[in-house]
Structure formats: structure tokens, C-alpha cells
Subunit: 190 residues, 2 copies
Amino acid sequence: MKLKDDKKVAQIFQSALKLVAKKGLSGITMGDISREAGIATGTLYVYFKGKDELINALFAACRENSVQVSFKGYNPQLPFKPGFKNIWLNILRYKLQHFEEVIFMEQCYHSPFITAGTREKAQQLSAPFYALMERGQKEQLIKQTDIGLLLTFMMGAMNELVKQTHYSSITLNRSRINSTFDLCWDALKA
Amino acid sequence: MKLKDDKKVAQIFQSALKLVAKKGLSGITMGDISREAGIATGTLYVYFKGKDELINALFAACRENSVQVSFKGYNPQLPFKPGFKNIWLNILRYKLQHFEEVIFMEQCYHSPFITAGTREKAQQLSAPFYALMERGQKEQLIKQTDIGLLLTFMMGAMNELVKQTHYSSITLNRSRINSTFDLCWDALKA
DNA sequence: CTTGAAAATGAATATTTATTCGCTTATCTT
DNA sequence: AAGATAAGCGAATAAATATTCATTTTCAAG
């Protein structure tokens, strides 16, 4: 291998994300991606078998990255609520800073591109979030409702918030973020 | 005009929705739609100028329909909370019963198909929801947080819930629905 | 240096998909 | 019932897009 490195893959991913956020998954072509990335169309096929593989790889990469970042700085020794807020903030920050990924993931979920295998792997990465909520329930801090439901509620609210923020170009300042956390916490708390 | 009636348009819309829910906005072709609707491809062009117009019309129709249904049975004379729950249930029911529309709307939001005008009109239809929340705030029942934020939080949570329900084929029974309403109410209540 | 293997190119090709149009069929009007 | 008008058709065309491949460039090892 010569220059076929991660850097170029990252560049391709960045371009694809940017375009999907702007024109939607249905609006991008391999030609668009290569142009945006500043490479020849044929070069895309050096890195990926085809469009399907590119999209699946990007989907998996986004998912892994976002989960990994979520638990940064989480210390299970500390009390639940601050730990939870830490993770909540990690997630929100990530989504705000990687808005394009939020849109891309959303668009992907119902596209024929994403294979069952890719979907499956993405789901498995949710395990730590389930564990977190279980802890909260054990400590009687979180409602004794189905955890999947609680997580869905929380993640859905956050996603929509991030999207709305971008559309309306409202900046989510510290005070607004805290208000939103309160909404979320009040919803979940026992 | 002979048979060029609402019934056929509805049939086309239904087919498009079904296909988008299954294969995503990027996965459907005019040919797919016509086949699913049991008509010739050329016939689509009797009803719509082209793919763009079809998608925009469907988007607008979905939006109008869902807003209209939301306020069914709402009586402003009654106390706030039961009225709010009534609307909340209307929305949830609608989304559950029209899952395909939820997916379609979501996919559309970031597609190049939807024009600025269509988007604008969709936004204007939110006015009654804003008014509802204002009432709740005046009566000191709802948090004094930015209404857009409250609505976004609520709608996002509901959408995600509906999607999750379909993916995991969990039936949202009466008790689960009430649990979810409690999450939502606890989040919003002052 | 030279050379060989991998990477990059982008025009050419293959494939898919939107749209058109000449024609047929159905319905309404008088 | 005949004529007029609009809906419906689907093969043919046009346009867009994915993918290939013969050629060129790059770079590291000898």
C-alpha cells in the first residue's frame, strides 16, 4: 500500500457526509462525492467496491465513533445523576458537532443501502446505554419503565433537538442546554 | 375529467408511501410507484408533472392530514391536562397508524425534492401547537422554556418511539402508552 | 537512478431511471 | 349512437448515474 491510507478514507467519508446533509441520501452520486473529495471518480472504487459498500462502511464508522465518545469521562464510582448528565452532554455535544452524521444516520435507517448485518452490529453497540439505565433503575432514580422505551424517548428527543437547532440556526447556549437536560431528567426520573 | 379523481391520487400516494417506508426515498423509482399502484408509468404523468411534484404534493398532504387529525375532539373549555393528553394521543395514534408517513416525512426533510415553499407551508401548520403550549404556560402547568424547544422535544420523542415500535414489533398497549405519556408530561410540566 | 507494484485518473461503457408520445380505451354529452 | 374529450397505456427516448479499464502517476525498495 502506498497512499491508500485512512486519511483518504476519512476525506471520502467527510465529503459523503457533507453532501448527504445538504442534499439527502437520495441526492448524492458517486460523481458528487469524488468531486467534493477532490479525487477522481474511479478512485472511489479503489477504496470501496461500490456505492453500497461505501455507505455501509460510513454508517458503521459513524455509529462506532458516536458510541465511543459517549462514555468519555464516565466514572461508575461517582453517583448516578452526574454520571448520567456527563454522558448525556457527551451525546448532545457529539450530535451538535457532527450534525451531518445525525442526518446521515437518520436517512440511512430506511434506505436499501444498509444491510441487515450492518444494522445488527449497530444495535449491539447500544448495550452500554442499556447497562447505564439499569443502574439508574436499581438505584431507584429512574422510572421502572421498559429500558428500550426510556432510551428511545431520550435519543429521539435529542436528535430532533439537534436537527431543529440547525434548521432554525438557534445557538444552544449553556442555559438552554441545561433546560433541555432538565426536561430529559424530569421525564426519566422516578 | 373522467376518472382522474382523488381516489387514484390517493392510490398513488399510498403506493409511494409504502415503497418509501420499505426502501427509502433514495430507493424508489417512478416505475416502482406505478407498478405498486397497478397503473402504467405514463399515467403518473397525467396526475403529476414529474417525480418532484409528486413528492412535494405527498409531503404537503401528509402534513395537512396529520395536523388536522391532531386536534380532533379538543375542547378548549376543558382543563388543560386532559385536553393536552387528548391531542397527544391523537398524534401518537396517527403516527402509529400512519407509520409510513412518519418515515416518509423524515426522509423528505433532507432531500432535495422538497422545495422551500413546501417546507414553509409545513412550518406554518405548527401554529396551533404553539398556541396549545402557550396556554399551558399561562396556566403555570408547563415549564417556562422556549416553546419551540418543548415541542421539538416532545415530537422527537414520539417519532422515535413510533419508529422503534415498528422495528422491534413491540405492541404499544394501553399501559405502555400511558407510561410514555407520563414520561412526556413529567418532562414538560412546570 | 531504475524499476515494479500500488494508487489515481477520467473518458468510455453499462445500467438504471425519468420522461415523452403516438396510440388505445373509457366516459360523458348531445 | 356518434362524436368529443380526457384518461390510460407502455414501448421508445433521453438523461442521469454507477462502474470499468486502459493508461498515467506516485513512491518505496533494491
